[in-house]
């Protein structure tokens, strides 16, 4: 069954949309509908608010998240009170969001819910850890990339990326830009030694010398134009805990002392560079690694844009699949096809 079996190899999955209306919720519902809930204990939450009945920005109809009986979910107090299913509370956390504390419950009937989970990466990680501790097999995160979220979907082991005409109605641009994001997701992990050293550091710019000693570079942030690489003749690894931007990457690339330096960022969501700068950096022999990485399981597309433009699904899937060397699915069509097959078998 497509990529569903693949998901079961991991203990966490995030479903990430490149833009609103790229079919993220459709993909999530597709996955939730097909996971073997009888033999796997599954929990779902979201980064920030999600699951509104209509999209708050474009006012288009949004499909709701449909939970099956037996699934666990994490949402805010406010949305829990609005739930339209029968469910049993199993935890009320100290984790506060703008919509109240994050509560966790088990669905006793199937039904639609509003999801709004932890709003920070550390909160999300704690929630995931709690879920695994009480014996859940798979935690699914309804993630967001385009929104200003403090929580990174890269904390999950695996990922599904939703893209589509809402991101760009020009097929060339859509394929190129999606492929670029896929390139970022595929950036390899740094060494175990660096992971141990750098994971606890959540801000600043740091470098590691050949003795393995860590030094902080005095700067306001990596966004600063003022950044100078002084006293860094022996820089093995350069770590940017915050955002990686064009200006910084360019300075690293142009500095002869940093020619063989490994650049490390927290995860791919912290990279805000243009494809041109990124490719140039690689072409000139630069190395870039991450501290957190998710395995990209599949890419899904929604060929319809909220403004009504519809791209040709087959061409889009084929071209994107070729560009990223991964299977690409149009979930709506997939569902239709599966239903047809099911009907044929029944009839």
């Amino acid at each position: 069954m497509t990529f569903i079996d693949d998901i079961l190899n991991y203990d966490s999955l995030s479903i990430v949309g490149l833009q609103k209306n790229t079919g993220k919720t459709v993909s999530l519902n597709y996955v939730l509908d097909r996971l073997p809930v009888e033999r796997k204990r599954i929990a779902v939450t979201s980064i920030g608010i999600d699951g509104e009945t209509t999209d708050q920005v474009t006012r288009t109809q949004k499909p709701e998240i449909y939970l099956r009986q037996g699934m666990y979910f994490g949402t805010s107090e406010m949305h829990y009170r609005q739930k339209r299913i029968v469910s049993e509370l199993i935890d009320v956390s100290d984790e506060n969001t703008s919509l109240g504390r994050v509560v966790t419950a088990k669905a006793l009937t199937g039904g639609k819910i509003l999801l709004s989970g932890p709003s920070s990466s550390s909160g999300l990680k704690r929630w995931m850890k709690d879920m695994h501790r009480v014996g859940l097999d798979l935690v699914i995160i309804d993630g967001a990339l385009s929104r200003m979220s403090l929580a990174s979907p890269a904390v999950s082991q695996s990922m599904i990326l939703a893209t589509g005409a809402a991101y760009s109605t020009n097929m060339n641009t859509l394929v190129q830009q999606t492929a670029f994001v896929v390139d970022l997701i595929k950036i390899p992990l740094t060494s175990q030694e660096n992971l141990d050293l750098l994971l606890p550091i959540e801000k600043g710019v740091w470098f590691k010398d050949s003795d393995g000693a860590l030094h902080e570079i005095k700067t306001v942030s990596s966004l600063s134009q003022e950044i100078r690489f002084e006293g860094m003749d022996d820089c093995k690894t350069l770590y940017v805990a915050g955002a990686l931007v064009d200006g910084f990457l360019e300075k690293v690339r142009k500095n002869p002392k940093l020619k063989s330096t490994e650049l490390v960022v927290r995860d791919f969501t912290k990279i805000f560079v243009t494809p041109q700068q990124f490719r140039l950096f690689h072409k000139l022999g630069g190395t870039i690694h991450v501290l957190q990485k998710s395995k990209l399981i599949a890419v899904t597309v929604n060929p319809t844009s909220p403004l009504g433009v519809v791209l040709d699904s087959d061409t889009l899937c084929a071209r994107l699949s070729e560009a990223i060397q991964l299977p690409v699915y149009d979930i709506m069509r997939l569902k239709d096809a599966e239903e047809k097959t099911a009907n044929t078998i029944c009839n």
Partner: protein, 459 residues
């Protein structure tokens, strides 16, 4: 005054507090809101309970304590929910969950303590009845929803819902009405338990606190103090945990200090870097720890109970407040004098008063301060570099440099003469030699006037 008001005292109280292994955020907030104990009975009671906990962790195995601590992590602040119950409001699912969760936790923890004869150490109200109300199926699980067992009709509707997902929306509405009725009934049954729930929450916080304090006594090597009958406080080999840890990081050892003070003002003189300020810090810290019922960092301690604790040290925040360091200091000490006149028992620990002004007036101010704070209700310990008339006070001196190393021991001296070791110490620090030798020359010239005469003229 609460712990919250004292925690930032520069004596290092926060350091000791932060080292407590508290399991619940609620315990932490509850402790910060605790008023300082001001009577011997209260303090004695608190230490008696703490002693029970120290015995308890000594006789049960570590996994048992770990499990108990893990359970206490589940202690949440549900004051708002309890308030709603007191106000006879209908609780919603989340609030009912909170009540059930607390009740199950309280019963569980109480049983764990009872198994080791600890049930009289902290009394936890019996909330079994609350569990019965919120657990109709007797599952003993800390989860909640409006169970099917509360109402047959609800059970039927939900069964229909599972069979006919298409009719779910309508059935949900019907269910909602019944559920609300069940919640009203449940809330009504729970109204009478508001007080017990409140008490249980505090009892669990106390257990969390006593466990953490008991473990801290073991970890930091703290002692149980005795409560002094009179005004005299005595410490045998006291130490400052924070300074000790900092020294250990640099592979150096803390030299414990033995000290008695209380009736007469006590003056501590001694060379620079002789640890005078650390002594005052430690005294202040120990006094706070005593009046908040913590273990005391000393081999033994006999401590007098006070109404108020004053620690006056060069205040770095004074510049922010727009006061000169002298003005800030004078105001702080003024508060001590005012309090001493209100007939409250106070302990005042003052570090080098009037240090920033000229030595002539400084000496006069300090001598006068000793006289002013001589009252029966004041226990004064003060450090100074000035020569003070010894008749009004007991004088202690840091032993100082011996064979190139600092001996921090305090010895009683008959005269109040301060040691003149500043130049030697500066030299040992490798300070510019020209500066030091110039100073030495000036001193030799000045010393041609007999020192005693100079002192007499100062007075």
């Amino acid at each position: 005054m609460q712990l919250r008001d004292h925690i930032e005292s520069p004596c290092g109280l926060r350091y000791v507090f932060e080292q407590l292994e508290l399991q619940s955020g609620y315990t932490r907030r509850w402790m910060l809101d605790m008023p300082m104990m001001r009577t011997g009975e209260e303090i004695a009671q608190s230490y008696a309970t703490l002693r029970q906990f120290v015995d308890f962790i000594g006789r049960v195995d570590t996994p048992y304590i770990n499990t108990l601590q893990f359970r206490l992590q589940g202690l949440k602040d549900i004051r708002t929910t309890i308030k709603n119950l007191e106000n006879k409001a209908v609780l919603d699912d989340i609030e009912l969950f909170e009540v059930k969760h607390l009740a199950i936790l309280a019963v569980d923890v109480a049983e764990r303590l009872k198994a080791h004869e600890m049930d009289d150490a902290v009394k936890v109200p019996d909330l079994n009845e609350v569990i019965t109300i919120l657990d109709p199926d007797g599952l003993k699980m800390a989860t909640f929803y409006v169970y099917d067992s509360y109402c047959q009709e609800l059970r039927d509707l939900r069964a229909q819902m599972r069979q006919h997902p298409d009719k779910q929306e309508d059935l949900l509405l019907e269910c909602a009405e019944i559920e609300e009725g069940v919640r009203r009934d449940l809330s009504q049954k729970l109204f009478g338990f508001a007080k017990a729930l409140h008490e249980a929450q505090i009892a669990l916080a106390r257990i969390d606190m006593y466990l953490a304090k008991a473990l801290q006594i073991k970890q930091l090597g703290l002692c149980f103090p005795t409560i002094a009958e009179g005004d005299v406080t005595h410490y045998e080999a006291m130490f400052h945990p924070q300074v000790k840890d900092a020294l250990e990081m640099r592979k150096r050892a803390f030299q414990p200090v033995t000290l008695t003070f209380g009736q007469k003002p006590t003056l501590i003189t001694g060379a620079n870097m002789g640890g005078k300020t650390v002594v005052l810090k430690t005294l202040t810290l120990c006094q706070y720890l005593f009046q908040y019922g913590f273990g005391i960092p000393a081999q033994s301690a006999d401590i007098a109970v006070k109404d108020e604790i004053f620690f006056c040290i060069g205040d770095e925040q004074s510049i922010e407040k727009g006061l000169s360091s002298f003005a800030a200091e004078m105001k702080n000490i003024d508060a001590v004098i005012k309090a001493s006149r209100e007939n409250r028992k106070i302990v005042a620990l003052i570090d080098e008063p009037a240090r920033t002004t000229n030595p002539t007036e400084g000496t006069a101010l300090v001598s006068a301060l000793v006289k002013v704070l001589r009252g029966d209700n004041v226990s004064l310990v003060m450090t100074t570099h000035y020569d003070i008339e010894p008749t009004d006070a007991r004088c202690l001196r840091v032993k100082g440099f011996e064979n190139g190393t600092m001996n921090y021991e305090l010895v009683e001296v008959q005269d109040g003469e301060v040691p003149h070791e500043a130049l030697n110490i500066a030299e040992s620090l490798g300070i510019d030699s020209q500066w030091i030798s110039e100073a030495r020359e000036i001193l030799t010239r000045a010393n041609s006037i007999p020192l005693e005469k100079e002192r007499r003229t100062l007075r």
